[in-house]
Every structure is written in C-alpha cells, then in structure tokens.
Symmetry: C2
C-alpha cells in the first residue's frame, strides 16, 4: 500500500487566470483536473476522469489487510469555511476531514474520491488551487485521488469519500471501566484560530499564524491512528472533530461507560503557541477552546493499562499523546475531577450542524 502514488506536477498553474469555470465547459474542466491526479496503474488501472468508475485491483491495494474502511464527509462554503481560508486550504481540508475518520478506525487510507459542487461564476484559478490542495493533502498521506464528479451548485461544496484498509479496526465501542482516557497532540488550536479571526481575543502574529494554520489546514492523525490500533492496547477511538466534550459523549454512548477527566492534564494549545507565554492555564476560556469547539482533528482513545505498563511507555514514545483521565461507569457520567476531589459534571456541547 505504499509508494503507489506518483506526485503530480504543479510547476504550472492548472488553468489560466481570469477565467470562470463556466467558460471552460464541463469536459474541459474534468480533463484539466484529472491530469493532476496521477496514480500507479498497477494498483489503480482506471483513475479520475478516465471512465464511468475508478477501478482498483483489490488484492494489490489491500496489501493483506482484511477490512475495507469507507467514510464520507462534506465541507462547504456556508458552514465550514472560516474567513481567510485559502482555496488551497479548502481543498486540503476536504481530504483531511475524511482522513481523520479513517485514522479514528486505525485504517490505512489509500484512495480518495471527490464530488465538487462549484458555482458557475467561480474563477478557474480558484478551482485550480482547490484541486492542488486536494492533491497535496492526499499525497501527503499516501492516498491516491482516483475519481470525482463536478456539479454546478449554488455554493462551493466538496464531498469526499475516503477508502482505506485495516486489519484491526478500533471502534467507538470497547472502552472499559479502569481504562485510561487519552488524546493525541493538543486541543483548542483551531478554536483559538477562530476566536482570533473573529477578533474575540488578540495574540501576537506568531500565535495567530499557528492557530490559523491549525484551523485552515488540519493534519489528520493517520500515522498515530495506525500505531494505536496495532498496539493492541487501545480499546476505543474516535476523532475530535466536533470538540472533546461531544466526542466523549459519543464514546460514552457507544461504549456504555463514563469518563473522569483531569482538566489540568488536557493538552490545551500546541507547544508552539504555549511557548509564547501569551496564554496560561488559569485563563478563562481555555477550557472552552479545548472542550466545546471543534476542528482539531486529534484522536480521543482509551487504553487498557492493566499489566501493559511497558507497552504503554513504548507507545508514548511513538505517539505524541496525553493521558487526560480514566474510564468510569456510565452512571457516573462525564465529569471533571476538581482539585478538591469533587466532581464537576461536564456540559455536553460543541459543533453541530442542526
């Protein structure tokens, strides 16, 4: 499953400037876009724009894995594009959000299919940048763009479908009382980016850049998801796209457990941002950033720590992760453990479409 993606050439702009896609025509557009998506013909004999379907040699693609994993996710103008996001980053995000779902099952992504809804008055250069973002994110994660569709629509909308393979799929169900609760990376960066864009808070340029990057161009935890799945220690997993609180609530429902969270251990904001010293943990609103916003695309997972201390240490060396609490019974619910050893129930809110 590795090494079959040939990188496309981006030396020249895909389409000339100052034209609108309605002037190119659908077939011309498909041809120009498809050329950007190169695949290894041994594994994907028919790729994007070549025929009615993409064709994948299953045995070669799956590389011995047992399961095909598949997910779909839409990003669109009216809901998902924060002010200031570039067309490249829009394309990138449409892939990243799907890769994050593959990561959350511990899957190896291998193919991406994209349906683009594009308003007729869109500039071709804009579409070219979106396409480059799609290609760059997919190839960064060794995923081939194998097919797609273009429709005229009222608002820009990108629906991606990502296919992957896995042997062990880590489910949302599986957490047991006593397991450790963990997250990868750090949380709240994307939320901070959004607050900075909305001018709700202020920060130095370097912080602003880092936070916006987290918001505009998320890095799904694909490698981490695979390592966590293969460790054999992880009992449940989900991605945190809609905020930590909602993700905990989803795990609770699927696993039938509760969670005790040690707020001080939750990694709020990246080291890069924290090292500036602008924010400290006592600041009001940091909890909000990590728990009740979304867009971080980290993984939330539970670990069976019993008799596995050495393995857990090894895993911690491989995966940037933090233990933020423990699994308790469903009756106890989801709560913060306070310094005084009391419970403070967690409000369950975050990003929802409806």
């Amino acid at each position: 499953m590795t090494g079959y993606l040939l990188s496309g050439s981006f030396d020249k702009p895909l389409l000339s400037k100052k034209r609108f896609i309605e002037q190119i025509g659908e077939i011309g557009l498909i041809e120009k876009i498809s050329k950007k998506f190169l695949v290894d013909k041994q594994i994907v004999p028919v790729g994007a724009g070549e025929d009615d379907c993409a064709v994948i040699d299953v045995d070669k693609a799956k590389g011995g894995h047992k399961y095909l994993v598949a997910t779909t996710d839409t990003v669109q103008e009216s809901t998902h594009f924060p002010a200031g996001i570039s067309p490249f980053q829009i394309g990138w995000t449409s892939v990243a959000v799907n890769l994050s779902d593959i990561a959350a099952m511990g899957g190896h992504p291998f193919a991406f299919i994209v349906a683009m809804g594009i308003p007729a008055h869109t500039e071709t250069a804009f579409v070219a940048d979106v396409v480059e973002g799609i290609e760059k994110c997919a190839s960064a994660y060794n995923t081939a763009v194998v097919g797609g569709d273009i429709t005229k629509s009222k608002e820009l909308s990108l629906t991606g479908t990502c296919l992957g393979f896995a042997d062990k799929t880590v489910r949302r169900a599986g957490a047991k009382v006593g397991d450790l609760v963990c997250v990868t990376g750090s949380l709240g960066n994307a939320a901070l980016g959004m607050k900075l864009i909305k001018k709700e808070i202020e920060a130095p340029k370097s912080v602003e850049e880092a936070a916006k990057m987290a918001l505009f161009q998320p890095m799904p935890r694909v490698k981490e998801g695979i390592m966590l799945a293969y460790s054999g220690l992880v009992t449940s997993m989900i991605d945190i796209s809609d905020g930590l609180a909602l993700s905990l609530a989803e795990l609770k429902k699927s696993s039938g457990v509760g969670f005790e969270i040690d707020e001080d251990k939750v990694p709020v904001l990246s080291e890069e941002i924290r090292s500036t010293g602008v924010f400290d943990r006592s600041m009001l609103g940091l909890r909000e950033l990590a728990f009740f916003f979304g867009g971080d695309y980290e993984l939330l997972f539970t670990v069976d720590a019993s008799e596995n201390e050495e393995l857990l240490k090894m895993l911690k060396r491989k995966v940037k992760m933090s233990v933020i609490g423990k699994v308790v019974s469903a009756e106890e619910g989801i709560y913060f453990k306070t310094d005084e050893g009391k419970k403070e129930m967690m409000e369950i809110k975050g990003y929802r479409h409806f």
Copy 2:
C-alpha cells in the same frame, strides 16, 4: 455478494410529521436515518451511523472478484430535480445515477455511501421520504447503504458514492472499426417527461405517467451491464445519462473511432409509450429526445460481431438491446446514415453542467 442485504421496515414513518430537521438535532437525525439501513453484519461489520467509518470484510464482499469499482455522483435541487419529483424519487435518483456508472463498467454494486446536504427548514417527513427512496433503490439492486454524512446546506444535495466489484471491467476505450453499436432499452423517455412537465407538448395521461416515471425514477441497467461484460463480446461501454450524442462523443474520444448511426433503428420511447400511437417516428423532435437530452440511464456499447453471431443472438435474448449502427474510423466522425446512403453529421450536444 448476494443476499446480504436485510430489508428495513417502512411500516411506520421514519420521523413524525410537521417537524423540521433542525428541531431533531444532528445526532437524533443520524440515529433515525441509520436505523433504516440494515446490513449483513458478516460482510459489513460496521454500517451507517455506527462509527467513524463503515467497515467491510473485503474477501467476503468481493466474492472472488478482482477489481473494486468506485464512483461518485451528486444530485441537487438547483440542477437535478424536475418539477413534481417526490422526495422518495429524489432519494431513489441519488442511488440510481451512481448504480448506472457501476453498470457501465459491468460491475456488481455492493455498497452505497451518501452525504446529504439539507437546508435547516426541511420537514422531517420530507427527509424520511428521501431516505426511504435511497434505501428502496439500493435494496432493489442488492446494494447495502453502509454509511453517510449530514451537513446543513443552502440547497438539498445528495452525493452518493457507490462501490462495486468486477472481474471484467468494460472500458470506454476498446471499440474497433466494424463493431456494432448498441443501446439497451429505449431512449428519450425522460426527455419526453421533461417536455410534458414544461407543457411544451401534450400527451394522454398514461403516456405522461410513463414518461415522468422514466424521468423521476430511473432504472439503472445493472443486470444488463453485468451480462454484457461477461459475454466477452462487448468492446466498450458507457451510460447515456447526458444523451446519446454526448455519450457517442465520449466513446469516440476514448476509443479513437467514429460512429455511423442508423436513426431508424434507434429505439425512441418505450413500447408502453409507443403503443399508444401518440408519437410516430416521423414526428419532429423525436431525434432530439433520444440524442440531445439526458436522464435515460441506458447503456451504450459496442459489440465485436465478427465470428460471434450465435453468441450475439444469445445475448439479445438475455438483454433488451438494439443495434443502432456500426463503428467507423475516427476520421469519419459521428454521423447519421440517411436513406439515400449519404452522411449527415451529428451535432454533439446534450446536458452539461457548465
């Protein structure tokens, strides 16, 4: 690959009437919808709404086939929904257009994933009907709905991704000079439906019903596509979703050939409609219906007829098809053979998004 789809129960409405989906909430909506999509857990251990991804046991699903085929297609309010289409038929169509692409490669469809963009003010009963249409079309073609996504959007939009398996995939490339040009079923029914809706022409009630049904609830030629692929006679294939002229042009480009079409042999309008005697072949506009509109979802294919007459006869007994012309050299282009034996070049036009 057969028999793994359990049918859902549609005895009761999915969601109660007179509510809008924004009142249910995203999680409630996903739960209610997911319940409609039942799958065989032996083959699809994780289905719609259960986790971050659908999980499919590849070896069990592919049933010995070599290739995974995948396609995506969007239907949406501003572009694809003719006046009078029901929500059930909208859901149906979103599956059918994707199945038609699988059919055009000769694939066996097996799984469908749907990303729904829904305006917040949509009535829940409407969404329930859309979902029922999706389920009914998928199950009619032995396809399991394994996953999906819901997004709030400005207009109703359904992006489907269909996965299938195949041994022999029939490509658009492959037609050779001397091959026969054929189509399944009959053409122009959906176009007639559109003209009736727009009151451009008039017809008796029975014709109107049949034509509208072709337009609103297309029946993709999945079984036919599989039989054609397995016959070994078919050298190229494509579906006719955008009209016969554009589909011929696509085959021409991919195969590097031209086409001589005998207009009198093109099966315009279904027997059901023709038997009413309302339309006869001399009527102006019939050519237009069959060649320059879309929405019929029949298959256009070429057949290597040399030394295969007996096999071709057998195929004709199995698949409702018409021989409409022959493959000529690319230099000759695409033309109608007139009664006087002259060429009349075919105008290449049809449905295009841009």
